[in-house]
Symmetry: none
Subunit: 404 residues, 2 copies
């Protein structure tokens, strides 16, 4: 017998049924402040999250694996119920999805940096002085106007943000496994485009030719006069939320990367919010037409990277103040967690477990407040990221019984 | 894309980087004393381990699987990051490594018992009256002098301890899957050497011939006049710690078995300590040249088998008193745990979870002392044995981020 695919095959496909909202505070988990012993979340005044936690089943989330520090892409895929170790997704694909490019199977995508090259071809500035979005768009428009695509291949350069540009290639038989050209240091020339195996030689030479064309087109630009390339990846679509769980899903996120990973799971992207509060406004506007809404808040992670404890505390409090507007939408299940920890003391993503609450009618509450300490020893125990969707569906009564 | 091998492919290979010390108190976990409700570890006065625990992330270790009582070999392999269920290692190989024999790929090893056989071939004493080490060596020397090895095969008999002897065979195309000859009871003849499949018939007949030669050589011995054989196993080297994690690793253990399993993981064996304290002295002597040091203390397990609660308490206190000498080496990560539980009330290895602490800069402390109760509900949750190395590497900042 073929084993059942769980939870997918148990999903109750009822459009307009109980609604699930998944709130992700990026990098939520923290480490205790040396003076107080309290983490960022435990320091923040969060009356709304605390009230929610006290009625919820709580636990700790292990996003990708014990001891594993995930990037944002794999971490979100895990939260969405996809095993990111079985199927690692390339950065180029995430970026292309993030800028809203409608990828097709077989497309190859890469992340490019606009860079400054010296006469002799060595890299002077790996980010071309961090151009403004407008300046980058002007340069990329010149490239798209001037580039000559090889026969049978579509070539797209799409500005992402500042110096970051996405390259998408579409054509028959493209080979996605190409190595980065970024030498990671100034004063060195870019690496040539190399394929991971001999069968990729044709694609590698074609991409190398494109990068050389770009250098020629931009030869009169004083600052942004070429590209460094990394994160080449081929696009293979994932089974969508609708196919897997029968959920009409939407993703509300301010930053491209998170819209990209939502799109990868087949979620609709109903808009581009301009602020934390605007993200919630977007959720309010689209909630009625969707069974599942992913809501992403970025600032907690950014302050974590900056090592700004108080900033992260404030970012948590800002989200807390908006929680009543989410509960007012009366979801059957409201999940609040993070995609990973970004402790301000560590200043990077980390492997530490992430606080998790699942608010529903069917909770086994144990926490007095929402924090690392109170989530420890909760009824959910330590939850693997890829099990979160099962739990969310179950608490929404959207899963059938397994077996008789 | 091929799934990544985690955590190996994320390991940061920096010789002389942050150091990890793994302290294993064999059979550490216990059961509550009926009079006090406190386990051996909770009864012991352990000011140093308690201080360490109060600054550490703690949890419970599940060595091999829920409800599974592991032997020492599989339990240590799990602690070292090898899945002992996927790749079970034969007892013969462990014993050969334990006595310091340098196995080569394709070697076949078995554990032998010196036994007493009656005239009619039945077994009178399965352990030949437990001879002293000296007496056993005298008998084994006679065998090695008298044995005629078959063409193209090297035959080694190596005394292990008392009646226990290791057999190693080296040659082309040896078949390792041979069944035990030990009938497990006196009054019965030994089983003939049988292969698990027909292709092993040649090897089985050859080994049978060797065992008959031994009976002939020892025919005038009054007590130890033959062998019972078990645990036949072929040796295939494991990927080493250096290959897997970039760690120059060493194992410091008083007993052969634990040096053997350390050697299997490619650890250096810098010496043979003569006591618990001498084990720590060895660690001090070699720590500077290694990135990872495994330290093994045996007495806790021995007292557990004896059912000696107070003896196990004293053995724990002896290690506790040495902890400051380990912390003085300033490792980035100090892990303290056991390979399994050996509760004195149970007098055997058991399946119970084992207390675990991971001391580092990046802990989320919750315990006041080191014990089963305080480790319960710690931030690490229940840690599978094979995930321990990921966690140790992560806390030492020796793992890269997974994905972007």
């Amino acid at each position: 017998m073929v084993p059942m695919q769980l939870p997918d095959e148990l999903a109750i496909r009822s459009e307009g049924g109980p609604k699930i909202i998944l709130v992700v505070l990026d990098g939520l988990g923290g480490l205790p402040h040396p003076d107080t012993g309290r983490t960022e979340l435990e320091t923040a005044r969060t009356p709304n999250l605390d009230a929610l936690a006290s009625k919820s089943s709580v636990g700790l989330l292990s996003p990708v694996g014990e001891g594993i520090t995930p990037g944002s892409g794999p971490a979100h895929l895990a939260l969405f119920g996809y095993d990111p170790v079985e199927k690692l997704i390339g950065r180029g694909v995430l970026s292309a999805l993030g800028v809203g490019f409608e990828l097709a199977p077989g497309d190859v995508a890469a992340r490019l940096n606009l860079a400054t090259f010296a006469e002799d071809g060595t890299v002077m500035d790996r980010r071309a002085g961090r151009p403004s979005d407008e300046e980058a768009r002007r340069v990329v428009d010149r490239i798209n106007d001037g580039i000559e695509a090889p026969d049978g291949v579509e070539v797209h350069f799409i500005p992402e943000k500042e110096h970051r540009v996405v390259l998408v290639l579409r054509g028959e038989g493209l080979f996605p496994e190409l190595e980065d050209t970024d030498p990671q240091r100034t004063g060195l020339p870019a690496h040539p485009v190399r394929p991971a195996s001999e069968e990729g030689r044709g694609t590698a030479e074609m991409v190398q030719g494109l990068l050389e064309q770009v250098r020629y087109i931009l030869s009169d630009e004083p600052v942004a006069n070429g590209f460094l390339a990394r994160g080449f990846a081929g696009y293979e679509p994932y089974p969508s939320y609708l196919d897997r769980y029968g959920l009409r899903a939407a993703g509300c996120a301010r930053y491209p990367m998170y819209r990209g990973v939502a799109r990868l799971a087949g979620m609709a992207i109903p808009g581009v919010p301009s602020s934390t509060e605007d993200t919630v406004t977007l959720v309010e506007r689209i909630a009625a037409e969707h069974d599942f809404v992913f809501v992403h808040f970025k600032d907690t992670d950014s302050y974590g990277h900056d090592g700004d404890f108080d900033g992260k505390v404030a970012a948590i409090e800002e989200v807390d103040a908006l929680v009543p507007r989410l509960t007012a939408l009366d979801p059957a299940v409201l999940v609040v967690t993070g995609d990973h920890s970004t402790p301000t003391l560590y200043r990077e993503h980390s492997w530490h477990h992430v606080p998790l609450l699942i608010a529903s009618t069917w909770g086994r509450p144990s926490a007095k407040s929402f924090g690392e300490t109170d989530c420890r020893g909760g009824d959910l125990g330590v939850v693997r990221g890829k099990d979160l969707m099962s739990l969310a569906l179950a608490h929404a009564a959207r899963l059938d019984k397994y077996g008789a």
